[in-house]
Amino acid sequence: MSATALPAPTGKEQTTHPAASFLASSIGRKVVMALTGLVLFGYVVVHMLGNLQIYLGPAALNAYAVKLREMPALLWGVRGLLLVSVVLHVWAAASLTRTNMDARAVGYRRRRNRESSYASRTMRWSGVILLLFIVYHLLHLTFGTVHPSFVDGDVYHNVVSGLQVGVAPLFYVVAMLALGLHMFHGVWSLMQTVGLSHPRYDRLRYAFAAFITAVVVIGNLSFPLAVMTGLLKEPASRKVAIHTAP
């Protein structure tokens, strides 16, 4: 078992562009994952807060949608950023997963976990659920493709009627639970990945992640639950609005 000399350590760095070697490195891909995760995390929070306006009634929610539509630069900018983030996030996840699976081709017969959490071990699966959900969610409430009675511009109607029937509300509930797991591990984990750690504040990382995750999940879950329990229902005489959904 004789160790051979390593290639001159600087040789590679001179020929490869720093950005390329960063993206190829394990930490680089993790950072991509963390930063895109941060964007998605921010969006999820804003999205949930915006949607809370549903409780103010159809007029308020639909007006909010109009407002967004009146700022196309912002709307499309955000959509572009989200799309890029999702693509990079999924790319990083796939690439890292592959690296990790290759790192241990033969596994253990017996294995006991001590420190990892259910959330951390299921990131892969919660991630896949979320991806499927996003596709469904877009087809459901943005494009209306899979919506039984989609009305372009009447967001309130689309939400309330969309969550009333079939497996849709169930899917929403499952997806929000997956989001909770994914977000909790993702939020504090991204801080670790970008190097935010200090003995004095490390506990706050968990507390922050738990708090913000709880807020988002409870907020988001409230919509299907409110529809299912009849708290949210369509007004008797509805005016057809003429706006597109956000």
Partner: protein, 637 residues
Amino acid sequence: MELRANVPDGPIEKKWDKHRFEMKLVNPANKRKHTIIVVGSGLAGASSAASLAELGYNVKCFCYQDSPRRAHSIAAQGGINAAKNYQNDGDSVFRLFYDTVKGGDYRSREANVYRLAQLSVNIIDQCVAQGVPFAREYGGMLANRSFGGAQVSRTFYARGQTGQQLLLGAYQALERQVGLGKVDMHSRHEMLDLVVVDGRARGIVTRDMVTGEVEPHVGDAVVLATGGYGNVFYLATYAKGANATAIWRAYKRGAAFANPCFTQIHPTCIPVTGEHQSKLTLMSESLRNDGRIWVPRKKGDTRPPPQIPDEERDYYLERQYPSFGNLVPRDVASRAAKRVCDEGRGVGPGGYGVYLDFADAIRRLGESVIGEKYGNLFEMYERITAENPYRVPMRIYPATHYTMGGLWVDYNLMSTIPGLHVIGEANFSDHGANRLGASALMQGLADGYFVVPYTLGHYLASTKLEPVGPDHAAFEEAEAAVAARVEKLLGVHGTRSVDSFHRELGKIMWEHCGMARNEGGLKSALGKIPDLREEFWRDVKVLGENEELNQSLEKAGRVADFLELGELVCLDALERRESCGGHFREEFQTPDGEARRDDERFSHVAAWEYAGEGRPPVRHVEPLGFEYVHPTQRSYK
């Protein structure tokens, strides 16, 4: 055989400087034409391999472990001495030199020890520069403590892991050279023979421990840094793999073996629990600062310790040595423990143990203070014994810990085979008959970083070496001998496991050549060991084959060598008719049971020359002169 120490003349404080100037240098362009073989990757081996590679030599380094970072230097806890005098408490190079010669009971070479004390200061600088995280004061300066009864604070330390941190420093320097292609590192390789061509060491033969391949390695010089031979006692604080094969093969190729009977027993180890015991664990000597050592007054008193009232306890060290008490040197404390256990007053299962009691210290200082000082040691003790030392006294017993003897070397650390340099614990070293605490790390690094890089260059610059290839007859002969021996071990097909022989050898050695020795016992050991060796070669059971990772085969080769070495240790102990340092001959003691040196007849190094199979080895003598430190009798009363 002529033992020429080659000590430069002139006043002792100028010798090394003068010698450094007088030594020949190798032209930088020529250095890369030389290949140097370094066997062992502990403090001495790694530091020399890295330093030689930095100078430009091509180095091939070998270790039996899976990584050079695992060498047993890593287990040293206490610290490393250096005459920095950072504490302004009156330390100096001369004082460290003086303490080391005296501590070694006047059986070391003054010039070597002086050089060691001089170089000690460079070691600290070097290690700090490498990033060894030594303990610091709040102002950012290096912290020191007093260690092993020294009257000055000259010990540098990194928690209880000083050996580990120093080794990692040397290992990192070594790996840097591996990365640069200057060191060719061979882990899981065991040196099984030395190759001597025209009277000079020109290479080694190794066995690849994974494939079984026997390989020749040619070089212009060989450095052995393979550590001590304390595992001849089977139960010792050594790593399980530590062995004497490299130095024993060199001995059989013509290197003299010096003072083999100088072995050190450490007083504070965790006692044996049963036949299954595979090794002994050392507890830091610092425990004796606050712990009180005692045994029951009555023989066979099996009451639990708290039920034995104070007046029925014998604090025997405090009683016998009122001025030093529990802090007497290692050899004295060890022998006293043996004495009380031999009287039948030992404690714990088997009766080989004494109490080290912290009850008084806890009462005096409080549990938290004791916890701060010794918390991790207490934890380690509890992990091993399942007893809580805060509640019940620890049980300790002495164990073999270090060997001062080793291959004889001159001032240049070259053995009696030109080109074969021996460094660290593997040589007979600068510690005389007894090593002081925190001195082993110092010696290993001084040899590796600061002595051998110079003296080896001098050897190469002043020697005309003929080109030699691995097809040289001497290499072929050595390879064939190694292969034949492996085959022989595998071909015995006996009934007893290797470990059972090793254990039995250990018992003979411990019984007759351990803490106290006498003529009758040594003679009986000299009768038993050859019989055991004969039985080994007739009845050992080594399964498997050579062409695989075969741990039984590895052990068998090592034990076969211990079975020869053990005999030499006993022979040397028999011939040294005096008591000094770790060598205590019961016939030579003062009326109150202390070691009595015989400077008239034994102020010398005994170096043994191999005389061939079946012939008694020849004892040569290198007289020791003491110009600067005048021998006195040690007294700790």
